[in-house]
Amino acid sequence: MQDGGLEELLRGEKGAWDAFVRRYAGLVVAAVRGVAREAVDVEDLAQEVFLRLCKDNFRLLRSFDPARAGLSTWITIVARSTARDAMRRHRPISVPIDAVPEGRLAIDPVEPVRKLKLPEALLSPRQREILTMLYDREMEVFEVATALGIDPQTVRSAHHKAMIKLRAYFKSEVE
């Protein structure tokens, strides 16, 4: 099941799920073992990974794009990320509860979502630099090219790609 079995899996066929688990369980166990603090955690963390993969009608698994990465690589990344998140959630409190102010025991009603500076999340450093020079320092394309030691056409190309990303982001925000 490199990619072909994914279709059956995403259709919800139990046999495909079992085959997927048998094929990738070893990979998941090895990946979470590198994150787990204790060996006893490995089984629970591996279960968290499989639960996350099939949660909400395989929402995460559906985001996998075989054109962008190999499934084994992606599962390794997902497994380690999931295991680390799970361990952060289940981290035991090592101080007596009476010693903790009540305010610090409050639980957020919604799981916090990590926020990133938009240009840093979307654009490469070179693209950010070019946009900064063009729009914040009011430089012309040839001046940017000279300052960076690159061809003016490269500046235009980087600018074009960056703006496509920004427009796509803001369009999706509006929608």
């Binding site: 369980a25 166990v29 089984e43 996998f64 962008r68 926020k115």
Partner: protein, 181 residues
């Protein structure tokens, strides 16, 4: 289209792009976790173009955990040996029933109860009949009591109100009689 037409449009586009860039610097974006995981995997497999590679490299430089994930994925860790632990993991994961039906709103239609119900019918008409009976009994009882009270005192109507009746005719006396002189 002349060259003069193109220049203002290019300037307008430039101005739009400038506003978009400046706006992007003022807001924070919620992290797209699924997109990030795919970016990291693509980075590990070396399938990104130069710009994307540089972008992810910059993110990894600020996130050592993610950098470790990528490094582990590159070395393609395997756990091929069959062990009791692995069998337990497989058994637990196979026991998961994948949630293939997304939670959706379901309209529950309430079917009206078509069986005839006599309780409200009798309650309605019974209460009306009871009210009529009580009002009739009360009126009759009050009238009888008044009549008995008058009889038992031995007074007739003309004895009770002698000044109102003319003894000779038995009719009501003309009360304005004395005023006409």
């Amino acid at each position: 289209m002349t060259r003069n037409d193109k220049v203002p449009k290019a300037r307008r586009d430039m101005e739009t792009d400038r506003r978009l860039w400046r706006r992007s610097r003022l807001i924070d974006a919620p992290e797209d976790e699924a997109g990030r995981l795919l970016d990291l995997a693509a980075f590990a497999d070396g399938l990104l173009d130069d710009d994307e590679h540089a972008r992810i490299a910059a993110l990894l430089a600020a996130d050592p955990d993610a950098a470790a994930d990528v490094e582990t994925a590159r070395t393609s860790v395997r756990c091929d040996q069959t062990s009791a632990e692995l069998e337990r993991v497989i058994a637990r994961a196979c026991a998961i029933v994948p949630d293939t039906a997304p939670p959706r709103g379901q309209v529950v239609s309430f079917v009206p109860n078509r069986r005839p119900s006599f309780v409200p019918y009798f309650a309605q008409w019974g209460s009306i009949a009871a009210a009529i009976l009580v009002a009739g009994w009360l009126g009759f009882s009050m009238g009888s009591d008044t009549s008995l009270a008058l009889t038992s005192s031995g007074q007739s109507s003309d004895a009770v109100f002698p000044e109102l009746f003319d003894q000779a005719s038995g009719f009501l006396r003309d009360l304005g009689e004395g005023l006409r002189t």
